[in-house]
């Protein structure tokens, strides 16, 4: 089946993006140079088409309670206008997906999900929702991420919304370049910035308005390639790599998105038990102490025996080191622990380090 174009497909072609099939969508992996695009986001700003992401909405009386029973984080403790990163778990405590849940009000919850899981998530939510059934709004939204230290200044040029009043993981609605948007101060790069949800037929207009407004600041259109290197430097989990339907959020070192003291949610009994007993494996960040780049599925070895697996790895363009993420036995998860990564049959030294790998100085 041919990959689906996003509403920005012709914009990508005009800009010379190299298009690839990603999760059934035709997406730009890069426009000119991955490292340049990565650096633009760290130092100025970059624009990403993330229209492939899915959107699922709960509306009506009891919407908050319904959504809250499906996710690990607690919407009851959030304010209206606040977004929460959360796990959507199966009964075994593994991830169906990782999501961002937006609380417009207790009667209106909007959930952004991964492209690769959008249909699965919707089916899961629909079959598990008791009173308020979700609506799949994925076709009603395009999404543009504007990320980087200069993102706020550039977006502010195009909107009357007071962006200085919109804190991290807060959102508002308003027009940007005369296009109606959900303006969300969120992202997947470790930089300040916004994710703008807009009508698909206005996406191209918004995209080029942002690019034009950011031209003098060094704005670049950015592909999925640098989106991955940026998130890896932050140790942000990628579904299908670092989190999946077998590992729990406690094993993935995401205890902060799990509120075990709230009312029941799917997967909670397993997590309660796991918390009491302690986890046997943990997702860690490590850097190579010898020459080589870790990659997904490479074995992690201790004393010659396989004890885990790399889930993500790359040469970090900003940290300028070969870095990786992977599950290891809890005993090897403390900072400074050493092990080997098997790279093409050869054990190569690695050490657990503090994450995120990258931080602004």
């Amino acid at each position: 089946m041919a990959p689906r174009p996003t509403p920005l497909n012709s914009a990508h072609k005009k800009l010379g993006g190299r298009l690839v099939d990603f999760a059934g969508w035709e997406m730009p992996v890069q426009y000119t140079n991955l490292i340049q695009e990565h650096e633009a986001v760290r130092k100025a700003l970059g624009l990403f088409d993330v229209s492939h992401m899915g959107e699922i909405e709960f509306k009506g009386k009891g919407a908050l309670e319904e959504a809250n029973r499906l996710i690990t984080n607690d919407l009851a403790r959030a304010a209206d206008g606040q977004a929460l990163y959360a796990g959507l778990l199966n009964e075994k405590g593994g991830f169906v997906d990782d999501v961002v849940a937006y609380r417009f009000s207790p009667e209106h919850i909007f959930i952004c999900v991964n492209a690769s899981n959008a249909q699965k998530d919707f089916d899961w939510m629909f079959s598990n929702a008791k009173k308020v059934k979700p609506v799949n709004r994925s076709n009603d939204y395009a999404q543009i991420a504007v990320q980087g230290p200069k993102a706020a200044g550039v977006v502010q040029k195009l909107t009357k919304a007071a962006l200085d009043k919109v804190g991290t993981y807060r959102f508002t609605t308003g027009q940007v370049a005369d296009v109606d948007c959900i303006i969300s101060r969120t992202g997947y790069t470790g930089e300040d910035g916004f994710e703008l949800y807009c009508p698909p037929d206005k996406a191209e207009r918004l995209w080029f308005a942002l690019l034009e407004a950011g031209k003098g600041e060094g704005a670049l259109p950015c592909g999925l390639g640098c989106r991955d290197s940026l998130r890896t430097e932050m140790k942000y989990a990628l579904y299908g790599n670092d989190i999946d339907d077998v590992h729990t959020p406690l094993e993935a070192n995401l205890a902060w998105i799990v509120k075990l003291d709230k009312a029941d949610f799917i997967g909670k009994p397993v997590l309660d038990k796991q918390k009491a007993a302690g986890v046997t494996q943990k997702l860690v960040g490590f850097e190579m102490t010898e020459s080589g780049i870790p990659r997904q599925h490479y074995p992690i070895l201790k004393d010659g025996a396989k004890v885990g697996e790399v889930t993500s790895g790359t040469m970090g363009p900003s940290v300028k080191k070969a870095i990786g993420i992977g599950y290891v036995p809890t005993a090897l998860s403390t900072i400074g622990s050493t092990f080997h990564v098997e790279i093409r049959g050869r054990p190569v030294g690695a050490r657990v380090v503090k994450t995120p790998f990258y931080s602004h100085d």
């Binding site: 890069q30 020459s291 790359t314």
Partner: protein, 129 residues
């Protein structure tokens, strides 16, 4: 600069080879570096190692992908380019000159003549698209 110099020989795996006196110099083509994207790691054999035509002799990695390097000719590695190991980005900047990878003393003179010329290589590229 021509993307595919006429005085080089090529493999279908996107390496180039150039006879220089008694040795054959080996690198990767413009297409290879362009397809890989930003090259961040190059792993080469040791001087003295034997390489076999069509077999892997090393690895080149971009931020995103790992790709094997295939030897255009059989023989013994007599020199490796330490500069490109230290600065893999050279592969993107200058794939035909600064980013040569290894020099091989061929064990079978026939190997070189069997390689693709520029016309045949450009045909390989055209068919891949």
């Amino acid at each position: 600069m021509a993307e595919y110099p006429k005085d080089l020989k090529y493999t279908k795996d996107h390496e180039w080879a150039k006879k220089s006196g008694k040795v054959v110099v080996v690198g990767v083509t413009f297409h290879a570096q362009d397809a890989l994207g930003s090259v961040v790691y190059v792993e080469l054999p040791k001087v003295g190692a034997a390489v076999t035509a069509g077999q892997s002799f090393g690895v080149i990695e971009s931020t995103k992908a790992v790709s094997e390097l295939f030897a255009p000719v059989s023989g013994k590695v007599v020199k490796i380019n330490d500069a490109v190991v230290g600065n893999p980005g050279l592969v993107n900047e200058d794939p035909y000159k600064a980013a040569w990878l290894i020099e091989v003393e061929p064990s079978n003179a026939g190997d070189y003549d069997k390689l693709l010329d520029v016309v045949a290589y450009e045909k390989v590229l055209a068919e891949a698209h």
